[in-house]
Amino acid sequence: MEKLLFPFVSIVGQEDMKRALLLNMVDPGIGGALIKGEKGTAKSTTVRSLAQILPYRDTVEGCVFNCDPSRPDRLCPYCAEKLAKGEKLVPEQVQMRVVELPLSATEDRVAGTLDIEHVLKTGEKKFEPGVLAQANGNLLYVDEVNLLDDHIVDLLLDSAAMGVNYIEREGVSFSHPSRFILVGTMNPEEGELRPQLLDRFGLSVDVKGDKDMEMRMEVVKRRVAFDADPAKYTAQCKAETDGMREKITKARELLPKVVTDDSIIRAIVSITTSFGIDGHRADITMMKAAKANAALDGRTDVNKDDIRAVAALVLSHRMRRRPFEEAAFDTEELERCLQSI
């Protein structure tokens, strides 16, 4: 029996973590989220519980690579062949999933490899999809991402950068789409993340345990109530969970209509400049995140509050860090930059 997960909507506080995850669900193009924080702060619980509120999406019926029928430019070889033959790709509505990449995963299972059974039976080589195929169009979750083997990290980075998984191994040569929301959780005490991987995450959050007595009591009480009777507790949260999924779905529909005026663009650029961040990735990510935030709020125009809500998520892991000091986010500086709007 599937073990019930603690309901997302019942997680107390941790607003930044929740926001970072929700924004990614509204716009997977934001580039995922890295959740850093001290142990026991519901990092994994929160990510896993996303399964309850993930929206539905279109996929090609029966396709093991979870191809998106609305994107003929991003099809797996099988779907592409079908299309070329003039066959129709039958769309199917499925709920997005949380695909977990276990730390112990080996390369062959992550990238995919030769299908032994098929080749023995038919003598033909066939590709057996791996985790990166399952992850396409879904959310890929890596717990303890900082402990992941370097060669597995390399595989992730390649796919995350190109949206395609290229396999050249054991006589198999194959490629398939692999676009996913990458979510990693880690405890920085166990070692830092490789900078290349750090860069890949669109947003990052530092999670801390609540020091407020009442909040803490609430956290503990809810957890104890859940543990006592998971089924009953989950049922109690059902309406709220459905509402949350609805909200995300609506925001996804609204997202293409969200517009930004020039003052917002200027504000974003001035923020990244004054925080000393090189490259354009931060600008683009902040724009996307701000738009997603507006959509989540049911608006089609981006305002100051959207930028306030996402700036730290976008910038904190991109700022130059000083040794052993917590990267303090300068909110005053942010406000100065926002004055121009």
Partner: protein, 630 residues
Amino acid sequence: MPPVDLRSFPFSAVLGMEDAKRAMQCMLVNPNIRTVMIRGGQGSAKTVLARSVGRICGKNIINVPVNVSEEQLFGGMDIDATIKEGKAVMQPGLLSRADGNIVYVDDVNLMDQRILMSLLNSVIEGRVVLEREGVSAEYTVDTMLIATMNPNDSDVSSHVLDRFDLCAYAAFPQEDDRKAEILRRNMDFQKDPASFVSLYKEEEDQLISNIVRAQKILPLVAMSDDLMGVSVELAMKVLVDGYRGDICMINTAKALAALNGRDEVMKKDVEEAAMLCLAHRRNYVQEPPPQPPEPPEEEEEDDQDEEPPEDQDQQDQQEPEPPEDQDNQQQEPPPESPDMDFQQLLDDMVFEIGEQFRVVDYLNDGPRKVSKTSAKKGRRMMVESSDSSGRYARSRVPVDKTHDIAFDATVRAAAPFQKGRDHEGLTINIQKQDIREKVREMRAGCTILFLVDASGSLGVRKRMTAVKGAVLSMLRDSYVKRDRIGMMAFRRDSAELVLPPTRSVEYSYRKLEEMPTGGKTPLAQALITVNEYMTSYSRSHVGEMCYIVIITDGRANVALSEGANANEEVLKLAEDMVIPQVKWIVIDASAGFIRFDNAEKLARALEGTYFRLEDLNADRLAESVKAVIR
């Protein structure tokens, strides 16, 4: 119940260890408690107790050896079945046998940390997700974990420790009476296990029925908001990270109430629960400041405190302050000599940490190279393992004969050629050229021990501030590279291990910040201490490259033997020093225009590399090189 088990000692015949026994019973009663750790020195019967728990719950104890591979533990490819059936068939791992039973790991601190983390996650979540060796599977496993370790060895990280719901400290009994009784029981058991076991049968049966009753009561146990508040407050007081401690305490308090036949949690349940749930999660910040610069009066008090309150009924304790981490490291501190100079004590100063900077690659290169790609260096953590230890990372065509066949890759290599091969009734015909071997990687890393001169001579002109800045810069560098780092400081007449090698550095910053300066320079003694420590360390960390970084001005002034020249003594010692797998680096911290060459001589005697403190700063070094070129 299984038939009478004569191999394991009766649970109730284990003397003492009340905390550990209580912890295990709580785990058996409350399914939300899944993991228990027992910490204790050698001979504290922690292993005996862990094995005996099977007797009182009718479960099997699945022993997981510390050197278990991921395939063995979680599952991998079943060679026989794969050949017969012609498709990848999974071979279940040890964990699948643990379903409905108890997993037991002895010396858990010696286990590969990543495997341990995966094991803990599987136990806590009740499922195993497998993506290995051509096998993709997910199975549920309803199990519990008991782990034991000796805290005198290297410790597990606080991150891992937090995953243990409960942690009990088992102390070796000091009283002769108790020791004698333990010996007696042991001899009786060995002489005639059957009658010894039957002697305790009644007690065991009672325990069993008490646990069964508690399991039934548990869902009915109520806990008042007040007491929940007390739990949360206690957790906050000792600054635990996250919420696991709080939640665990409530689960444990409920289990304790149920074990006592009550359907309501009482204050003493919470207090007992705190001992089991918070002690190992408590944050170091609460610890009293480090011992060395304390006046002797206080030390006497400390000694009294250290008398372990083992026999006292813990129920009597009103204030459930969790026990101090009484690791033996602390129980046998290098004794401060009683005739120490009080004036010097008063003179002790604590310097702030100075400027930090990007450091040159001081471990690998001479002083003239600047490391630009510090990120890449993180990779030195992984080395290819030459034997069959380590984790299976990928496969390759073997160069020579191999004993470590990567079966999944071999079958895949053979598969395309099956049509043309004679099968002789088998599904797959594997030939020599198909064989692939496993490439295994070990996380054999690198340990860096900083031996810091904290003597008075470095207090001059705030030199210590610069030293601390440099040490912190180097610590930071190692942190990024995921090395293990430790710190030893020497002054007055001894060297003290301030920070045992660890990969977690949250603690090191504080230690460095608090490190006092003052007193003489016992360099020779420091060399002897570090030699002893690192010799045993390198023995227990085979394959690990170790560096000892000495930061000193090299001006020794405490001789080992009376009347000897301290500096000559140091050089002579240094020349004789041979520690396996150890490289020495001497960083000259002397300041001023007149530079003494003591540190340089020391480096030469140790056959180590020599740096001046200033040359560690990568940016400044680059500048000075540029200036020379111009």
